[in-house]
């Protein structure tokens, strides 16, 4: 039963309850601390998925290390028994990089693990290895795509997760730092997968050489801005875990040796190791190599961290990039809390705003129309005026003409008796009278 909270923000405490929720102390044992156990039981029933990818040149002991890690023959032995005199020479190196996958369901203490190991034979074995990283990147991204497609299905009850959780990259024990191919590969892959670099066949390096080599590798990794997986501790962990994590992190990159064979120690015990004329190297001896630390990190302490990182960080960033590239637009309004009153107020506001806008629009339209009409009227007025003017001038002109004519006429003729009847004397008649005058003289 939650104690009342007086908050300004969302009433339902969302992701960060500390942002407004007050901390309260309880007076008795309530029991919700049993939640992780309930989850634990459910997860065990469901079982886990873990996908591990191994990448490296041939001959670096990848298959042997996998077999050693999981204490079972995940990969069959590559050579030795089957070679007849000619077959060895005729087996050509695979052209290009192949991607092969082996899956196994293993059970330990009731916990079911579906383990998949993805091998990449042919990586780095050709003369030209410029594009050796590309098939591997494409495989990882296609697994992300498959998961994305499943997430977008209508029925999502059964999602199969075969995304790569960790990639073990095998480094040749040259002692000289990373090679060009290593750097190329890591730069292309480190944003898509948890990278765990591993120094292969470490039995060829003395302890001092191992230290120097690790330092050079880390310097190269930092110089090129490559991001590798490191166990980190947060404030939830107890001091023992924190110190364990520090110890493991200090050994990265792990210098490992793998072996499926057993050797006999001087004291008579049988352990997994390799027998040399000058001594025996034990796989599980922490003074001899870092196999134990690698196994600890991969299987016993950080398996969930690796899966989580894959799901939350790597997959999400891939998804974001992909969807943005496809043209989706981020709409942040869906993230706000749902509050009915607020919603209503919001809607009202929106409505009012809409109305206001319409009004403004209409008045603007009206104004515009009025303006237009005024303009038109003005124009026609001016037109009329000008016509009027022209007509006036024409009339004026006509009048002047007529006036002139009249004045002319009155000038040329003697005072003309204007008939009492007031009729106008016809010019013809006038002419006739003139002629009469003329005729008298004859």
């Amino acid at each position: 039963m939650r104690a009342g909270t007086a908050t300004q923000g969302p009433a339902i405490g969302g992701g960060n309850g500390g942002a407004g929720a007050a901390k309260k102390k309880m007076n008795g044992y309530v029991g919700f601390s049993n939640y992780p156990n309930q989850q634990h039981r459910r997860s065990i029933k469901r079982g886990f998925n873990f996908t591990l990818m191994v990448v490296g040149e041939s001959g670096l002991g990848k298959s042997t290390l996998i077999n050693t890690l999981f204490e079972s023959r995940v990969y069959p032995p590559k050579d030795g028994d089957d070679s007849s005199p000619r077959s060895g020479a005729q087996v050509a190196m695979p052209a290009g990089v192949d991607i092969t996958s082996v899956s196994a369901d293993i059970v330990e203490n009731g916990v079911k693990l579906r383990l998949s190991v993805v091998d990449t034979p042919g990586f780095g074995d050709a003369v030209n290895n410029d594009e050796a990283w590309r098939p591997i990147l494409e495989n990882i991204e296609s697994r992300f795509d498959a998961y994305l497609a499943q997430e977008n299905r209508v029925n999502r009850s059964k999602i199969v997760d075969n995304r790569v959780n960790v990639l073990l990259y095998f480094i040749k024990p040259t002692g000289h730092g990373l090679r060009a191919m290593d750097i190329e590969f890591m730069k292309h892959l480190h944003t898509r997968v948890n990278l765990v670099p591993v120094i292969a066949r470490a039995d060829t390096l003395t302890p001092r050489e191992v230290e120097q080599f690790k330092a050079k590798i880390l310097a190269d990794i930092n110089f090129h801005g490559i991001h590798i997986f490191k166990p980190v501790s947060d404030h939830f962990d107890d001091p023992e875990t924190i110190s364990d994590n520090k110890a493991i992190a200090s050994k990265i990159p792990f210098a490992v040796v793998g072996s499926e064979q057993y050797v006999v120690r001087p004291d008579g015990t049988r352990v997994r190791g390799r027998q040399y004329p000058w001594g025996v190297i034990e796989v599980e001896n922490e003074n001899h190599n870092d196999f134990v630390a690698l196994r600890q990190m991969l299987l016993r302490t950080h398996m969930e961290e690796l899966r989580d990182e894959t799901d939350v960080s790597l997959y999400e960033s891939y998804r974001t990039q992909k969807l943005l590239a496809l043209g989706h637009v981020q709409d942040n309004s869906v993230f706000r809390e749902f509050n009915p009153r607020r919603q209503q107020e919001e809607e009202e506001r929106l409505h009012a705003a809409k109305m206001h806008k319409l009004e403004a629009e209409m008045s603007a339209v009206f104004k515009q129309k009025v303006h237009e009409k005024e303009g038109k009227l003005k124009q026609s007025e001016e037109e009329l005026h000008s016509r009027h003017q022209t007509m006036k001038t024409t009339l004026e002109k006509q009048r002047r003409d007529l006036e002139e004519k009249k004045s002319r006429l009155t000038q040329s003729d003697a005072p003309h008796p204007v008939a009492a009847t007031g009729s106008y004397v016809e010019p013809a008649q006038r002419m006739a009278s003139k002629d009469k005058k003329k005729n008298r003289f004859f």
Partner: protein
Amino acid sequence: MTAPEVQDYVGFDTITQQMERKFLKRGFNLNVILVGESGMGKSTLVNSIFSTHLVDSQGRRTAQEVIRKTTEILPVTQTLDENGVRVRLTIIDTPGFGDQCNNEGCWVQVIKYIKDQHAAYLERELKPQRDRIINDTRVHACLYFLNPGSRGLRPLDVEVLKRLTEVTNVIPVIAKSDSMTLDERTLFKRRVKEEMAFHRISVYPYASEDDDDEDRMLNASIRELVPFAVVGSEETIDVDDKPVRGRRHGWGVINIFDESHCDFVHLRNFMLRTHLSDLVEVTAQRHYEQFRTSQLRQIKELRAQQAAAAAAAAGGSGSSQPPVAPLPHQPMTQA
């Protein structure tokens, strides 16, 4: 035909001592080229064989150093003296070989260098007035470094070895063989020999008809060991209060002079104590002669072509003087 018995002691058997004395005065040249990726152990091995710090490792020391984009040729000459015998030793390192993502053509510089040395010698030989003793810069031996742990030869190895074995004596070695158990070494050597036979790559020592039984047995035992699985070291460590040249691991100490640990002793004896003069001779008699033959033939062809062209152009005016073609340094030969 049986050789007649000599009755009294004549004394011509002292010619070996006379030759030796002359040899001591003159000294001789030894040129060895190292071909292999960075980090294979080339510098350490050479320094171990000659028990002197002759060459520095050319590996990248810091992250800021750029990875070489091409193969460089780095000859270093030093004079060593042992019991009055002087050797002018030239070690030619090839930093950058095989270090890039795309290694197409990374062998071109190496082959070119070797052929250049042959060509220089030929040129001096052909001069009308030549030195009494021509300074021999021809490459007498090539140590080719194989990758331990691979399943036999890699595609790059096959490409390079095919070309290298045509111009010089190639001795394949695995320099960092301390990561392979004895069984793995045997398997690897068998695979490598099979693949070399398949690709028709012939490495030194070669079989020849002049060999007597002793030579043949020696060569057969050498061929068994090829490629030599060695471990190099410039450090001396204490084992049971005895100084030993080797490497100290947490679980054991490698003594490079111990024959049960690695083939270092065999390689050194083979290169220096038994086959040293043979290396020089075979270079002169086989590789140099091959080069010379092909060069002279090409010159002849070139001259014939030019003569034919001149004759055709001049329209039968009988050009009795063929144009003198300059000796091509690296003519139409391809790497």
